[in-house]
Symmetry: C2
Subunit: 230 residues, 2 copies
DNA sequence: GTAGAAACTGACTGTGAGTCATCTAAAAAA
DNA sequence: TTTTTTAGATGACTCACAGTCAGTTTCTAC
């Protein structure tokens, strides 16, 4: 254990410490209302030091977000491993994403930073690349399930696995976002439980892309849905 | 025409002038990069004056956005009026939103301000109310088509019109957002045309919620899709 | 012990949202 | 016509905060 190695370790540790402080502050206040001074104070470092480790506030934010991506990827990978039938696995994707949404709401909210246009000014290209790589990895998992399902005759042969993944993921994401923002409003004004809508939407989609035989056999069809979280 | 009336008119006109300047600047630079000073200069007024007419930068932004909502509402209302069959009308909703997306991309992008959490700090409650009212109005149009379609046996009786509207709108919105941000990436890395995905997603959804007989009769099924915009 | 490198600091700069004491010109009153 | 009142407009100012950098401290090597 030479000195350079120890220093390298210490540097990495400092990076982590900063990231932990940032995560705490970002979770509490969101990107806009968090300040670098506050993060620095929590990390017991000066503001200048933060910039030795991270290029900008946004870079720091995205690095925290990547932890969320990792977490979600892990959850999805595990669910996929434990669900051999592609039809059921696809249904599990929806359930797992919902579970992630409930347990790690702060990370879920961070994800939408990427989608919000015009907020990327300060993000370094390398950071952008990291994020794209991470998302690609997770997309690949979902697309592969579709590909496998088509080969096994579970999904219709005329659907494109990538297209199906985009459709399922986009609508799931969009409805969860609505649950996060507007759940109470929909409940009050139109008596709609958006959580139910989320699962019905996924079910409707699967019914549309699965072959009738596979759908009839699928075990999720009569599964009990989670209760509303409102 | 008394003096108070004239003054009132002039005040309203000034409000509009400010709004026009703001729209131009926001369209060019987005919310973050636009400054009140720049808007003031373009409107040939001092910054202080802007705050006599609008409570905050965000209020001003949302007021511009409301113009976009109006525009979209008008387009949807007209399409609905000219399409008697609820099945075709639902398909038209997707086409009209796409047309809006293409022609008024700047407004489309503004819409997502509402969804982005934590950006609403500076928005006045009245402004929020206005936005909710506007969106409700447009939701109602879509929901009514579903309700009518169910009564006429075009849509399955076991679907809830509000739920169907949420699902269709959310997924459409989400895919358009992806087209806006990531169209080229998907084309390059996976050779996927997201515009096609958008229309296929809508078609898949309609197939799932329409009765088989109505679907067989629907005129949109074999319609030619718009070419990619990439 | 000392030279030099690496890590850290915090006062400083620049920017931009929002404020407010002051000014101006039009309307009302005299 | 002159004076008073008032609504509307102004822009210099404050305050907050991201990002910088000249200077300081701490650690390593010799």
């Amino acid at each position: 254990m030479g000195i350079p190695e120890r220093k390298e370790r210490e540097k990495e540790q400092r990076r982590e410490e900063i990231l932990n402080a940032a995560q705490k502050v970002f979770f509490e206040k969101g990107l806009q209302s968090s300040t670098m001074d506050e993060i620095a104070e929590l990390a017991e470092l000066s503001k200048g030091t933060l910039y030795l480790y991270y290029g900008s506030k946004e870079d720091l934010y995205l690095t925290v977000m990547l932890r969320g991506f990792d977490l979600l990827h892990g959850m999805i990978a595990e669910a996929e491993k434990e669900t051999p039938s592609p039809g059921d696995a696809m249904w599990m994707m929806g359930r797992v994403y919902f579970e992630f949404f409930e347990k790690h709401r702060n990370f879920f909210r961070m994800f939408h930073f990427l989608q919000y246009p015009g907020l990327h000014k300060q993000v370094s290209p390398e950071m952008m690349e990291s994020c794209n790589g991470q998302t690609q990895k997770t997309w690949k998992l979902v697309i592969d399930i579709f590909t496998r399902g088509i080969e096994q005759g579970v999904f219709r042969r005329d659907i494109n696995p990538v297209e199906a993944a985009v459709i399922l993921w986009s609508s799931a994401n969009s409805i969860l976002l609505r649950i996060d923002n507007e759940c109470d409003r929909w409940k009050k004004t139109l008596n709609i439980d958006l959580v139910q809508v989320y699962f019905r939407s996924n079910a409707l989609f699967l019914q549309a892309v699965m072959t009738p035989e596979a759908y009839a056999r699928a075990s999720f069809v009569r599964e009990e849905l989670p209760a509303s979280i409102s």
